[in-house]
């Protein structure tokens, strides 16, 4: 076993600077969040990059935090579900998931909402997907949402309501964009 890394790493998590001394380099970013920082809003569904329950946003991009070692993120800015909003002060996507019943058991939900948050940014930035008709300016069709959210499994299959929630938020944001 190699010597433990006693260099501390610094993560900015939901705007707060956290210094972690990880005695074990095998700690995934997911387990660092859940077990070391007590941020259990990020879920572990498979621990293998197959379900999306552990999705967080690192430096603006959505990633599966189970597939990434914590020590690789020294200096990174990380947003988890806890950083998006709180009961009584829900972010628009959180409120839309609540209203459209975009969840049932709720276990995949933080991952869905983090993924949707980053996904809307990707679309705004013009990233195409496999279902895009126009590769230079993809439009927000329902299939486009479905495709871009297909990395987040939901066994309760709240999918139709997830699509409705995301669409509601995207549509509400659209006029502001037109004005800009």
């Amino acid at each position: 076993m190699p010597a433990p890394t006693d260099h501390p790493i610094t993560l900015t998590v939901n705007g707060t600077v956290e210094t972690l001394v990880l005695a074990d380099p095998r700690v995934s970013l997911l387990d660092a969040l859940r077990q070391r920082l007590g941020l259990t809003g990020t879920k572990k569904g498979c621990d293998h990059g197959q379900c999306g329950a552990c999705t967080v946003i690192v430096n603006g991009r959505r990633i599966n935090s189970c597939l990434s070692l914590a020590v690789m993120h020294d200096g990174d800015a990380i947003t988890t579900i806890e950083g998006l909003g709180a009961p009584g002060a829900l972010a628009p996507l959180q409120a839309a998931f609540l209203h459209h019943d975009g969840f049932q058991c709720g276990y995949c939900t933080p991952g869905q909402i983090m993924s949707a948050t980053a996904m809307l940014e990707e679309l705004r930035a013009g990233w195409p997907s496999v279902v895009s008709d126009d590769l230079t300016a993809p439009a927000l069709s329902d299939d486009e949402i479905r495709e871009r959210m297909s990395g987040n499994l939901c066994r309760c299959a709240a999918y139709p309501n997830i699509v409705a929630a995301i669409r509601a938020v995207a549509d509400a944001a659209a006029p502001a964009e037109d004005a800009a």
Binding site: C46, L98, T109, A158
Partner: protein, 735 residues
Amino acid sequence: MSAPIELKLHHTMDRPDSDNLLDRTAQGVISAPLDRPEGPLKVTGRATYADEDHPDGTVHGVLARASVARGWVVGMNTAEVRAMPGVLDVIRDPRLLRSPAQGQASRAPVQNPAEIFYVGQPVALVVAETLEQARHAALAIRPDYEAREPVATADGQPCETPPAKQATQGDLDAAMTAAAHRIDVTYTTPAMSHAAMEPHAAVASWDGDRLTVRSSNQMLKHNVAELADALGIRPGNVRILSQYVGGGFGGKLGISHEAVAAAIAARRLGRPVSVALHRRTVFEATMRRSETRQRVRLACDADGRLTGVGHEAWVSNLKGERFSEPVTQATPFTYAGENRVIGHHVARVNQTTAGSMRAPGEAVGVPVLECAMDELAEAAGIDPVELRIRNIPSEDPSTGKPFSSNRLEDCLRAGAEAFGWADRRLTGQRREGEWLIGMGMASAVRVNMLETSEATVILLADGTARVETDMTDIGTGSYAILTQIAAEALGLPMDRVTTVLGDSDLPPASGSGGSFGAASAGSAVMLAAQAIRTQLARRLGCDEAELTLKDGAAIAGNRMTPLTEVLAGDVLKGNGLIKPGKTEKTVRQATWGAQFAEVAVSALTGEVRLRRLAATFACGRILNEKTARSQCLGGMAFGIGSALTEEVMNDPRDGHFVNRDMAEYHIPANLDVPEMTVTFLPDRDPHANPMQAKGIGELACCGTAGAIMNAIHNATGIRVRDFPATVDKLLDRLP
């Protein structure tokens, strides 16, 4: 504060309900599509699931598992593993489980991991300071085996044929011979996995002789009994907390490896222990739905009237398991026909334990019966909807008992109309470029049940109320509907009612399973509130039937009195208990629906794209239109998985579960699920329970897969009789 005034209302369903309380209350929240009260916690990541509240000093356990399918563990390198960094203990205890407990077992399942029955069976628990250390050390466990030749698959194996599960009526063979049209077909459905998104997990801690386990379980009163029995301790010393359950689908009905292992380890080490199963362990070592082979025989006259119905099923399970997939459960009463055969056969195999998964029986039996009906409709030249309508019996044809209510025809007619069934063309008649388009339908049928359930409702002096029961919410909406029932019955706005669930120290509920949770736990809450209503009426000098409660006030005669005034500082504590009674036996109770599917099948690749699904259901009073609809959407998506993607693959050499992860066991993803519409017919069933509500969550996955398979046939002319309809089964038969 003075001691609460204890009230109670206990009720056994010996006769149909005639009161219909929820139709004469005034608050107007029952059935309303309200948001889930616990929703804000779930969407912000603040709801704490099983492995998310570690007491100080919690250490981690990982199960080491068998790599052979049958035999005995005769040795293990425990000393070597104990010496690894961070390792605290390697536990080989005869109380560890072989299999999780079956639903409602209330006693320990088969224990002692020294004897191996399937690949992936736990053999020991490794505990270490950190998860990383425990995981690494568990992989270093090398058991010595005395291996035996396993029964890898059910193919060609002798079967048990339990006499109580066979039935014959009339002479089916003669009916088949005399029939104008007949179908004699065999279908197979694969083993399936629940794949709830939250893996099974338990965190155990001891305080003296008292054990507390935070776990992910569906039925706490049974789970307490199972865990206590497995550990050899008194049930009174066990507390289980499952406030949020990340999906169950039957896979968390009984106590499983993690709770027993965590409890044993926590006792030995004197520290709290977390055992969170790895996803592969969930697939291999918890439960599966059995694969099935089903022979269906249908005989009808020239007008399509059934004269014979035969449905025989072959399933499998481990030795020592009483459960076997009740494939034909709905067949005895779905369609008419005076000559009938029901068969049930069980093979014993060395594979993952088979248990209940969402709609055990009907989830696989109904789609197959419905595919056979589609074949008969084609043979007889009768529209599939019409064939079903012609064969709806006026009473249960196997027992002669009346139906409590049979809404199948209403569902079929309303569903066909809403879907546009009249536009369906004959087989292979519709093509759009590369795509062959087809429509299919199926009836949906599921038995309806009620289980004993208890709840407490406390009306506080300030006019707020609290609901308490050990019921669980596995995503079904228990928090929402129980709050709505109490608010409706007590005439309170939703925000004045708090519902506390998922703690086995609270009054024992039915638990979540068999689609009986809402009806059972809900009735208990309603009865508890009704006990309070009676007391309030007494205080106001009127009959309970003349009392109107609304927005925190009581209206009796022409006078409105705030509840706080009626309470005058008192706290009213109502205890409600519902028990199944004679209406379980005197009538046939079921829930009904009709499912319609439209598919496009690529003429080039055989890829099936589902275009839309529509279903119409009649399942009693709807308690929350929003959560009920979500249950149905989820159930229908379960059906999509059964029809198109889901299949446990077993290695024919040792039976091991090959595709034991979420990349290879394909549950539907977002893009697999098209537009789906759900319609509820207004419905009440007085025989079901005092709320006249019935089960929903399982009905929605009964039939769906049949509708999709029938749509594939309508598009292509291909009958896939081996579920799911993957590309390989279509490719070389495409027109």
